[in-house]
């Protein structure tokens, strides 16, 4: 829902329950009794994401342990068969357009919500969040019937629908970034001769830049991954990747889906690792200097 602020990582909280009672030797590092449940939760969290990798390279349709061979057939299908390649291109189109629109619409609202306090702020935020919490099927049938009346189906219908579903993430991430902006910085910039537009470009965008970037990433993923609404709004000539995957999964077990997932996993985890490492280095540097 909200990207964790880097500062959350940097601030090492002290022992919340206080130091151990005196008179006892300091414990050597050993596994705490809580380590086992945490390990189980970690497995629960990551197993479904990781299992797709061996699945995508196993030759048969059924994954076995130990794996009975190695094959890149499913990747070949993914990158050569037109139904998969066109689905990927369609998804890319829709996701990029959604990202641009969601940022253009959501970032100003996020800044307005985060920087100053004004009446009705909570109400607006509540409204903004409803697309996230509303049952997808209800949203889907509603959009299906209303968008059809204005012939907003297929590519543009999907972009419109995905923008609605993605914009809350942009608003929330930009808003939490904007909370770090002191409103007097804006007054200061104005008094130093910057017009409102230049304040936005020279102060707001640089300071909220990280929030806008991660909001854009969330928007992209939301669109890229959206199934339920897309099922209603695609037309036969314009399927997105999740729609294609859903159709395949309902018919039979198709490891091409695992190949898609592995590719995505590779891209997103490397982006995440890069972000973490960069943040880590910067924190370290800041600590040395500060």
């Amino acid at each position: 829902m909200s990207a964790p602020a880097r500062s959350d990582l940097a601030a090492a909280p002290a022992d919340p329950v206080g130091p151990p009672p005196p008179g006892r030797p300091a414990r050597r590092r050993r596994l705490r009794p809580g380590a086992l449940p945490v390990a189980v939760i970690v497995i629960l969290l990551v197993l479904p994401s990781l299992i797709v990798v061996p699945m995508s390279v196993s030759p048969g349709e059924i994954l076995r342990f130990p794996p009975d061979g190695f094959s890149l057939d499913w990747y070949r299908t993914l990158f050569t068969e037109p139904q998969w390649t066109s689905a990927m291109l369609n998804s890319l189109q829709v996701a990029l357009a959604t990202t641009v629109l969601a940022v253009l619409i959501g970032a100003p609202a996020g800044l307005a919500l985060g920087i100053r306090e004004w009446r009705g702020r909570g109400l607006l935020l509540g409204l903004v969040l409803t697309p996230v919490v509303a049952p997808p099927v209800v949203v889907a049938i509603g959009m299906y019937t209303t968008y059809a009346q204005v012939e907003l189906i297929g590519r543009w219908g999907l972009i419109a629908a995905h923008t609605v579903l993605a914009v809350p993430f942009v608003v929330v991430t930009v808003m939490s970034a904007a909370r770090q902006i002191d409103p007097t910085w804006l007054d200061a910039a104005r008094s130093l001769g910057a017009s409102p537009l230049r304040v936005a470009l020279t102060v707001l965008v640089p300071l909220a830049g990280k929030g806008i970037a991660s909001g854009a990433l969330f928007a992209f993923i939301t669109s890229w991954d959206e199934v339920v609404v897309s099922l209603y709004l695609t037309d036969p000539g314009f399927k997105t990747l999740p729609v294609q995957m859903w159709n395949q999964l309902r018919e039979r077990v198709d490891p091409t889906v695992a190949a898609v997932a592995s590719v995505m996993l590779l891209i997103t985890t490397s982006a995440m690792v890069a972000a973490l490492v960069i943040g880590w280095r910067r924190d370290g540097a800041a600590r040395e200097n500060g």
């Binding site: 449940p37 004004w118 099927v137 923008t163 770090q180 997932a261 690792v273």
Partner: protein, 298 residues
């Protein structure tokens, strides 16, 4: 008592940093106008149309659809499936999520970053793919059964897929991060001095946890629980792919009414009931959700 509770509230020190309230009034909302227009036309109107049809379809139905929705045994069964699953999944997510967030909070820097990474990983993996992965793991000839067979633990494959267990596992995995993040955020807002104060006043470490730390971080847990429950109520993909006939949620019934029978009246009534439930929960939990989003800065 009320005084004690307010001082334990972790957001109190931060909440004192009120933003200067100048430029109040509607001027502040100006940059949000495009957003309001887009949400109004592309989201509120479609949902309102669905709600409207519950009263008008077929002609002059008024409340007939609600009578059907509330008395029909099939609808009741699906409603019960939905609420039961949502409850089980929320409770599981809270227990596991709090444990996990606490481990993150107590861990050293490296472990904390790794744990955070693991908590966020599901966000970046397609929901569809994760549900699919569970089918691979849990089906009769799936990874888990094969493993148990080879180890000789069982003689015949256990029926794991298309059970409530599969749905619970799949949805808990999906909703856990929504609990972990607000709980962890609440924990980082906890002032460590408070624990030291409690120790100095004679509380043992255990009692500090149960009587100071847990209550102080409770708003984060409530926020996560509300979020998990709300999202679970609307879930569609995971129960359809992983659940058996007894696990199908109300979303499936709504979809069937529209897709197979064109019965917009019943679909509208069921949708309205679910939306009202979700909005009511959102309103109830708003105090806690908004605290994380709008609360203390820096």
């Amino acid at each position: 008592m009320a005084g004690v509770l307010t001082t334990l509230d972790p957001t109190v020190p931060g909440a004192a940093v009120r933003r200067p309230g100048h430029r109040r009034g509607l001027g502040g909302a100006l940059p949000a106008v495009p957003l309001l227009v887009v949400l109004g036309l592309l989201f509120v109107v479609p949902v309102a149309v669905v709600v409207g049809r519950s009263f008008t379809y077929p002609d002059g139905a008024t409340l007939a659809n609600y009578r059907t929705a509330l008395t029909d045994p099939v609808a009741r069964q699906f409603a019960w499936n939905t609420v039961r699953t949502a409850l089980v999944v929320s409770v599981a997510s809270c227990l596991l999520g709090y444990t996990y967030a606490y481990a993150m909070y107590r861990a050293g820097r490296t472990v904390r970053v790794l744990l955070l990474f693991c908590a966020l990983l599901p966000f970046w993996t397609s929901l569809l793919v994760r549900s699919y992965a569970w089918t691979v793991l849990l089906r009769d000839r799936g990874v888990l059964n094969e493993l148990l067979l080879q180890l000789g633990v069982i003689d015949a494959p256990l029926p794991l897929l298309r059970t409530s267990l599969a749905v619970t596992l799949g949805m808990t995995q999906i909703l856990l991060p929504f609990v972990i993040l607000p709980v962890y955020a609440a924990m980082t807002r906890f002032p460590p001095d408070l624990a030291l104060a409690a120790r100095s006043l004679g509380a043992s470490r255990r009692r500090v946890f149960w009587e100071v730390f847990l209550p102080a971080t409770m708003p984060g847990l409530v926020a996560g629980a509300v979020l998990a429950f709300i999202l679970a109520v609307g879930y569609y993909i995971t129960p359809v792919l992983l659940g058996g006939p007894g696990d199908q949620p109300i979303a499936v019934l709504i979809e069937n009414a529209v897709q197979q029978r064109g019965d917009w009246g019943t679909a509208g009534a069921l949708s309205t009931l679910v939306v009202v439930l979700v909005l009511a929960l959102l309103a109830l939990g708003w105090r806690f959700l908004a605290k994380g989003l709008l609360g203390a800065r820096r």
